[in-house]
Each structure stands twice: as C-alpha cells, then as structure tokens.
C-alpha cells in the first residue's frame, strides 16, 4: 500500500505550531462550521467523539498496518463502564472517563494479547470474532450488566455512593453528568469533548513523533526485518493495540457523558466497519486524516440523512420546474434514507482512486501546485514524485 506517513523531519517548534492551530480550529468550530449547518452541539460533539475514536484506531491501523475489525467492542465497553460509574459512584465525568478508559484498556490487553498472535486477515477475523462475542453476549448472557436491548440507563434510585456522601441524597430528579458541579449539556458538553479531542490529538502527535511510533511504522513496512535487527515486535504491537483500545474507551465514555446511556448496538461489527471507513476515507497513517474522515462521515450522516424532497426541490429551484422536480427525485436516492449509498460510492471511489485517502489528495494537489510554481508553470509529465 502506498502510504503517506508523517515521516517528515519535524521540529518541536513546528509541532507546537500544529497544536496551536489545531486547538484554535477545534475551539472555534461552532463559528466556522455554522455556514454548512453543522454548528449545533449535538453534531459537534459527535465530530469530536468519533474523531477521538478514529485517531485511536489510526494509531493501530495507520502505524502498524494491523486491520482490526472489532474496535467498536472497546467503544461499547467504555460506554458501559462509564454508565456504571455514574450509577454506582458519581456523576463526575472525569471519574467515569477514567474508569471507561481503564476497563477498555484491560479488555484490550487481553484481547490484543490473543489476537496479535496472528497477523493479516487472521488478525482481522480474530478481532471481529471477539467483538461479535461481546455484542452477542451483551444481548444475551450479560443482560444483568448491560440491560440487553433496552440499553443501560440511569435511574433516580441508583446508589451513587460518592455523590450521596458529599451532597446527601436530597436530589429527587435524575442527575446528569457534570464536571465538579458544572453541568455538561449543550455547548459546555461540546467544549468538554473538544478539550478531550485536543488532548487525544496531542498524545497521538507525540506518538507519531516518538521512537515508539517510528518502530511501529517500521513494523508496518517490514516486520521480519524488524525482528532480524533484534526487536521483539509483539510488545510494541500490544502497546499500540492497548493505546488504541483506550482511545476507543475514551470515545465510548464520552458518548456516555454526553448522553448517559449505553446500548449494545455500539459494539456491532458495522460500528467497527464505520471507524475503518473513517480512517481510510481520511487517510490511514496520517495525523489529520482520520479526523477528517470522521467529520465527513458524521456530517453526511446527520445533514444528508435529514434532507427531504421539499428541501431538494428548493435547492434546485433555480432550474425549470420539471427539471428541478426530476433532479430532486434522482438526488433523493442519495440523501435522506439513502445516504449510505452515497457513503458506499464515496468510499469506493476513494479506495479506487485515492488509496491514501483524502489526505493523499490534498498532498497531491499541494505538490502539483508547488511544482508548478517552482518550474514556472511548465511542468513536464516526467516529473515523478519520489516514493516515500
């Protein structure tokens, strides 16, 4: 796979700049996303949460090349753990998240230890098998813990030991997740997720730049050679797997923080497939790609799937009547209920023509522009880009 990796010599200063710009862009997202109708907190925090999920997945898939088809299991585990933390101890979001990440890490350690004994498609099938087991068990045997199809929710009568010890049990209404008294709803909740996203991105950047990250990349290009040089590759892979499971746990517990319920459908293999789509669509192995992919897919899901025929007819209103009507009914196939069709087509096009994802497209474009500028607009077809 011709992959683009962020292996360009970067300086700490450059990284600081990247972080500063990234922070500014994320925190101002409600403003600059307003024109495309994506600036309501519910969608914004979904961008952030799935961004975290995809960034974490990318640490495994993008750096090591191990394709996990069961990552949603850790997302679900994170959600369930966070909700149980809410129920048993406290509504504090940080506690719940810490617990969610911890439990996801434990599961990732065990599952990763087993699955990483194989590679290639066998690894994919093994992770898929574990995720499906988790999903099926959440619906059957584990219903006392997961509450099965009804999903795990909060209840006024929950123990909440810590909260009651501090606040007394005066509260009658159903409490909502909070950060030391600050209720996490609306934009507060988005900014909470945004801070988590920035932290998650920072950690991922650090991993990409670290010797550890480079070792993972080396394993991706040739694990055998890596072993010949005397490295035991398994521990590194396991650490990468656990880290990416922790990211999924964080994303899952954030889902529980923004909406305190947890259902098993989060663990279904389609959910695992979705994060793969996000990462590939954006560009596996790149820093920003997975984030892009997550945002694009969630945007499509929310905006496109809400479009209906009247709105479409309005969009094409500038055309003659019959034509507008016809165009609207044709494009209706691709939006609303049919947005998965658009997703599938888009995804196929990306894999066929841009195997490196949208980021590769951006690189190609900038490279072309640069070359044009350097050679004064007279680019010959013979100018081949160096591979890697």
């Amino acid at each position: 796979m011709a992959s683009i990796t962020e292996f360009n010599p970067s300086t700490p200063k450059k990284d600081l700049l990247i972080m500063a710009v990234f922070t500014a862009v994320v925190l101002t997202a409600p403003i600059w996303l307003a024109p495309i109708g994506a600036s309501y907190p519910d969608l914004l925090q979904r961008f952030a949460i799935f961004g975290i999920f995809a960034i974490g997945f990318n640490i495994l898939f993008g750096l090591t090349g191990y394709l996990s088809f069961g990552h949603a299991a850790f997302l679900g585990i994170g959600s369930y753990s966070a909700v149980w933390m809410f129920k048993l101890f406290s509504m504090n979001a940080l506690l719940a998240m810490a617990f969610g990440i911890f439990v996801a890490a434990l599961f990732a350690l065990v599952i990763g230890f087993i699955c990483l004994r194989r590679s290639g498609i066998y690894f994919a099938i093994l992770t898929l098998a574990f995720a499906q087991m988790a999903y099926n068990m959440a619906y059957s045997v584990l219903t006392p813990i997961t509450n099965g199809e009804t999903a795990l929710t909060l209840d006024v009568a929950d123990p909440r030991i810590i909260d009651r010890a501090i606040l007394g049990d005066a509260k009658e209404a159903l409490p909502s997740p909070s950060l030391f008294g600050l209720e996490l709803t609306g934009f507060t909740s988005f900014y909470f997720c945004a801070v988590m996203l920035i932290l998650a991105f920072w950690v991922s950047l650090k991993i990409f730049r670290s010797p550890f990250g480079l070792k993972l990349l080396a394993m991706k290009s040739n694990q055998n050679r890596m072993q010949y040089t005397g490295y035991n590759t398994k521990p590194y892979l396991l650490v990468a797997f656990v880290i990416s499971g922790m990211y999924a746990g964080l994303a899952g517990s954030l889902m529980a923080v923004t909406d305190p319920l947890a259902g098993a459908e989060r663990m279904q293999w389609t959910a695992s497939g979705e994060v793969v789509l996000m990462t590939i669509l954006g560009g596996a192995g790149t820093l920003f790609g997975p984030l892009f992919g997550a945002a694009i897919i969630k945007y499509f899901e929310n905006i496109f799937s809400a479009l209906n025929k009247t709105q479409l007819t309005e969009v094409f209103g500038f055309l003659p009547d019959g034509m507008a009507e016809a165009l609207a009914s044709v494009s209706l196939l691709f939006v609303g209920e049919g947005w998965h069709l658009t997703l599938g087509i888009m995804f196929m096009l990306v894999v066929i023509f841009l195997p490196g994802g949208l980021m590769e497209g951006i690189y190609r474009l900038t490279a072309r522009v640069k070359r044009k500028r350097e050679s004064g607009g007279a680019v010959s077809g013979g100018a081949v880009q160096p591979s890697e």
């Binding site: 093994l126 087991m133 068990m137 389609t270």
Partner: protein, 338 residues
C-alpha cells in the same frame, strides 16, 4: 435422540448455506487472489432474484370479485391465472424453484460484470484494499436493493407440495412424531449437489484441470499459451452463481432483507478462516461443522449448562482453531499471513 437428529439436520442446513458461500469465497481467493467482501451481497442478490421472480409472476390486475354478490367487490388477479388458469397458479406457486433457473444466468452476468468492472483492477493491490473496496461495493449493492425492494424482509413461500413437514421419523423407522420441513431437506440436498458439482467440475473436466493448474502456478499456465485470466473470470462467475442459487433457495427459510448478505458474510469469513484460507474442502467441511456446532449449542440442554453459548460458539471455535492451528483446519502454511 430425535431432538439430536433434528438439531443435526438443522445444523447441516445452516451449514449448507455457510459452505456454499464459503466455497465461492475460497474459489475467488484461490484463483484471483482477491478477498471479496461483496460475496455476501451476491448471496443476497440471489435471494432477491427469487423475490423479483415471484413479484413478476404474480403481477396482477384488479378484477371484479364474483364470489361476493351483495356489493361491488374487487380483488387482485394475477395475469398468469387469467391467461392460463390453474396452470398459471401452479407456476406462481413454484416461483422459488423457477427463480433458481433464472438466477443462474442472472448471477453469472452480475458476477462477470463485477469481475470485469471492478475486481480485475484489484489483483495487484493489497488484501486490505481489496477488503475495503468490496466492502464499499457491498454497501452500495445493499442500498440499491433497499431502494428497489424496501427495507423490510419479504417472505416468499416454498411450493405448497413441499412446504409442509416431511415424515422423517416414518422413513427412518423412528418415532412418527419426528418430522422435518420438506424445503429444508431439499435445501440440504441441493447444497450437497451444488458442492459436488463444483468439485466435479474442477476435478473431472479439462477446463477445471486447467483452472486448478492456474491456481497452483498461474504464470506457467500462462506461458503455455492458455488465457488463464479468462478462465478465472469464469470461475468468479461460477462463484457468483453458487452464492446466488444458495440465496434464492434460502428465501423460503428466511425472508430476505437488504442486510442479509452482510450477516452471512461475517459468518462465512469465519468459516473460510476456520477451514483454512484457500482450501476448498476446508471451506465446505468448516461450513457444515460450524453449522452443526451452532445448532447443537442452541439446544435447551446445552444452554442450561452454559447460558448464551449459542450466541458465541462459532466465534469461540474460530478463536480456538486460529490459535491452536493457525492456518485453519485444512489450510496451507503461509497463505495470507502478511
């Protein structure tokens, strides 16, 4: 004893479907070297060929209902009934077997179109990219079917002559109460027949021999002046037919919806991996084996001891097999390792 026999049959039934899909997957992988995640979609398309044939045959017109005399009543009457009377009705009732005949050319066309239109460009790309592009294709096919047929499962009945239970106990000299649906028995035998046919084709025909030679060493066969690529494309078509016929036959057992392919695909991949990537007998054996194991695990007596085991048994077996015998039951070493 009776219960055990019934579960065995149930498992073989389900295993038949798994085996047929896994067989096609393995054929495609063995010849073209492509991991086809859209193979489940072919199974689903076959099922919808049966639905479409049924719809087409029972295309009807509104006519006056003569049997109700005290007010003006209307009913839908199929054209076939109007034109051919009872014969027409019989044709409608036998729509599922007819649809199998229709499915063969249709699926062949779809398979060839898929191979020429998309798969051929992915021979040289990595397995991950093959998985991803065919996964995308599976989504697209599923969504198109959803647009055409809606999102709900569509039931189609088996022909009335074979819709009821077969007196299995009486045949075998066991208890009279032991009965088993006719159609499921037919399904089991048809799947065995198809599997036998595919193996016979590969084993006993010259064409099949060349295909096997190509699977072993494609380059040499090419150097002998044989257009091995065209034969592999035909093999893809055959795999599509196998999956499609399996799907069409499965309609009376499970009403198909657009997601059917995905559900079967996940299990079939587990089957392929358990059987051993690239091994045809392995795929078939693992298909039946996992079907039977799943069926036994869903027995009440087993579930009392290990609650919920029926939900996860297949995956547990897959994990155990992959860890104990990494290349699967009958796989060759080193296939798809990197």
């Amino acid at each position: 004893m009776d219960a055990l026999l019934l579960q065995l049959l149930n498992g073989l039934d389900k295993g038949g479907a798994y085996a047929l899909i896994a067989l096609g997957l393995t054929l495609v992988f063995g010849t073209l070297g492509v991991v086809n995640f859209a193979h489940g979609a072919l199974f689903m398309l076959g099922a919808f060929v049966a639905v479409a044939v049924n719809r087409l045959l029972s295309f009807s017109v509104q006519v006056r209902d003569e049997s109700i005399t005290f007010f003006e009543a209307y009913k839908q009457q199929p054209y076939l009934e109007i034109w051919f009377g009872d014969l027409g009705l019989a044709v409608i009732a036998w729509s599922v077997p007819i649809s199998i005949l229709v499915a063969i050319p249709v699926m062949l066309l779809i398979g060839l179109a898929m191979e020429r239109g998309l798969i051929q460009f992915f021979y040289k790309r990595s397995h991950a990219e093959q998985i991803l592009v065919t996964f995308g294709l599976a989504i697209v096919i599923g969504e198109i079917v959803k647009v055409l047929f809606g999102a709900n499962p569509i039931p189609v009945q088996a022909p009335p002559a074979v819709a009821g239970p077969a007196p299995l106990g009486a045949w075998l000299g066991l208890s009279e109460n032991l009965v088993y649906p006719w159609w499921r028995l037919i399904y089991l035998f048809t799947s065995l027949l198809i599997i036998a046919a595919v193996f016979a084709f590969l084993q006993f025909t010259t064409y099949g021999m060349v295909v096997r030679a190509g699977m072993a060493d494609r380059e040499t066969v090419g150097l002998l002046g044989i257009n091995i690529q065209r034969r592999f494309t035909v093999v893809f078509g055959i795999a599509a037919i196998v999956a499609g016929v399996a799907g069409a036959m499965y309609v009376p057992i499970l009403p198909p919806d657009y997601n059917l392919g995905m559900n079967f695909l996940v299990l079939s991949f587990v089957v392929v991996v358990v059987g051993g990537m690239g091994s045809l007998p392995g795929a078939v054996a693992a298909g039946f084996l996992l079907g039977v194991i799943q069926s036994f695990a869903s027995m009440g007596a087993v579930k009392d001891i290990l609650p919920g085991i029926d939900q996860i048994i297949i995956y547990l077996v897959a994990v155990a097999v992959l860890l104990a015998r990494p290349r699967g039951l009958m796989g060759r070493k080193g296939v798809m390792e990197t």
